[in-house]
């Protein structure tokens, strides 16, 4: 466990979030259960303010669309998102859970391994083009931009 100041006592690190998700998914041995859980999770996604659900924040995939918004609160990035497909939205909810409320440095320095561990890595394949791979890239870009901004 890493401690990075007071705040860390109250929030999980990025990797703790990933491990928790892996733990949650470990009870499912059936695909349908996994998908049902994603459908549940889709309802918990911090929903993007309708005013940001525009072309500017749209990440267009060939299969489904994802909207992503980011804001800096203190030294933490807050992500919110939405998708027109529910399973995509469920996975977006997982990505937001892992990457939101983290510092730009943590977002940039940690590898995302949980999708592979819970068997959803195929949803990030470049050929799947459901917008999720582009979403992860966009989240990292936000982190990079905020990091640069904070450095100034």
């Amino acid at each position: 466990m890493t401690f990075k100041g007071e705040k860390s006592f109250f929030k999980m690190t990025l990797n703790e979030q990933q491990d928790e998700i892996i733990e949650e998914f470990s009870i499912f041995d059936d695909w349908m259960d996994k998908y049902n859980y994603l459908i549940e999770l889709s309802k918990d996604l911090p929903e993007i303010d309708p005013k940001y659900k525009t072309q500017q924040y749209l990440i267009e995939g060939c299969q489904s669309k994802v909207w992503l918004y980011a804001d800096l609160e203190g030294d933490l990035i807050k992500f919110s998102a939405d998708s027109d497909a529910i399973i995509t939205k469920g996975i977006a909810a997982l990505l937001v859970r892992v990457l939101s409320d983290q510092t730009p440095a943590d977002i940039l320095n940690n590898k995302l391994y949980f999708l592979d561990k819970i068997g959803l890595q195929q949803n990030l394949s470049p050929t799947r083009s459901n917008g999720l791979l582009a979403m992860v890239k966009q989240m990292k870009l936000y982190a990079m931009a905020y990091k640069a901004k904070m450095g100034n």
Binding site: W31, Y35, N36, C62, Q63, S64, D84, T88, N130
Partner: protein, 407 residues
């Protein structure tokens, strides 16, 4: 008409006999690509293990043998579509390359500023974009034949689009996204009354019905091998001799050259003029083998059985509340595109996949067509003669599960 023994036929396709996600594979993505019978797989393997050699130029035994096989394959394709001459059959990498070749070569010679090219609202991107690019290069105009709600071309509107400036018409015989069978004979007749040549995109038709290019009297006919139970990377460009002779080559390089000096190059005669570089002779022979396999079963028998599957699926799936079939033309091949009310096609596709059923979701490379129906995509099940009604029942059950999950 012979009643096909489907269980026997299925044994010819080794890939079908497997499980995905611990469920028997149901392959309903035949519109994207068809599976290969063992005989095609064996043929390719045999070429690589016993016969491989570059063709046309070699004086040695292997080269001569395989050159002969390649040219025999051309004759088999010629017979398959009933072309008048074998040199009217050009091997390409597929439908996309065939259309690009025509758009470039025909366009270079015959399209000028303000000329018009007609396509249809049902086209695949491969029969839209090459013409758009040509129009940009030549400052020509692209006109589009509209469709009705059922997904059928409006022939009256088509007639109105034709003008003295129309230089070529390019339409598909069967829509990949909806399965509509277009009355291309009529389209060609109307065009020929004004001496306008017509290209028919047969990528989705040759595997479902008998095509006779002389009877259709089309000027160009193109299709892919991999959608016709043949190998990947091989396709056909059929063109009437008079057009092909007048058109400049598309790509330049190896076999298509007669004589090269640094001052001038003389191009070889047909069909070699359009076959630059080492041809895909392995897949050409594989395609011929696939055609022989199909002809052995009989395209009429295939069409009749596939119609039975389509009717069965249409009736069964129509009974599902909230299921809307996109494309309800009177004349269709075994393609069923649909959407479920309030359920995203991607969500549906993901769950159907996990039931072991391969369907396609999305815009099917026909975005303008999706726009026409105010949708972003569909779920598409496309059936082949190796599919069964029991498999359609599984799709039906899967859709019910989808509805339950996303209710």
């Amino acid at each position: 008409m012979i009643k096909l023994d489907i269980q026997k036929i299925r044994k010819d396709f080794p890939i079908l006999n497997q499980q995905v996600y611990k469920k028997p594979l149901v392959y309903f993505d035949n519109g994207a690509t068809t599976q290969k019978p063992q005989t095609v797989i064996d043929e390719e393997l045999k070429i690589y293990t016993q016969e491989n050699s570059n063709i046309h130029r070699g004086v040695h035994y292997l080269s001569e043998q395989l050159t002969q096989r390649y040219e025999d394959a051309r004759k088999i394709v010629q017979k398959f579509i009933n072309a008048e001459h074998d040199h009217e059959v050009i091997f390409t990498s597929g439908t996309t390359e065939s259309i690009n070749t025509i758009a470039f070569s025909f366009g270079e010679k015959f399209i000028h500023e303000d000329d018009e090219i007609i396509i249809s609202a049902l086209e695949h991107h491969a029969n839209i974009v090459p013409w758009q690019m040509l129009c940009e290069r030549k400052k020509a105009k692209l006109k589009v034949i509209p469709i009705n709600e059922k997904g059928e071309l409006l022939i009256d509107e088509y007639q109105k689009l034709i003008s003295d400036k129309t230089k070529i018409i390019a339409v598909n015989q069967v829509s990949n996204a909806l399965g509509t069978v277009n009355d291309v004979k009529k389209i060609i007749e109307i065009a020929h009354n004004k001496n306008i040549p017509v290209l028919i995109d047969g990528a989705q038709s040759v595997q479902h019905e008998v095509v006779d290019v002389q009877e259709l009297d089309c000027d160009f006919f193109v299709f892919s091998g991999h959608k016709l139970y043949g190998p990947n990377g091989i396709g056909v460009l059929y063109g009437k001799e008079k057009w092909l002779n007048e058109m400049p080559p598309y790509m330049t390089g190896g076999e298509m050259i007669k004589k090269v000096t640094f001052e001038k190059t003389t191009f070889n005669e047909l069909p070699f003029k359009f076959e630059a570089g080492t041809p895909n002779y392995v897949s050409a022979v594989g395609l011929a083998t696939a055609i022989e396999y199909i002809e052995n079963i009989g395209l009429e028998n295939i069409a009749s059985y596939e119609k039975e599957l389509l009717d069965y699926a249409t009736e069964k799936l129509s009974s599902i509340e909230g299921l809307r079939i996109i494309g309800t033309a009177e004349n269709k091949v075994s393609v069923l595109s649909f959407n479920l009310d309030n359920i995203h096609y991607y969500d549906a596709g993901m769950v159907i996949d996990k039931m072991g059923i391969a369907v396609r979701t999305g815009h099917h490379c026909a975005e303008p067509l999706m726009d026409r129906f105010n949708i972003e995509g569909t779920i598409r099940a496309s059936f082949s003669f190796y599919n069964t009604k029991e498999e359609i029942d599984k799709l039906y059950d899967a859709i019910l599960t989808v509805k339950q999950m996303f209710a």
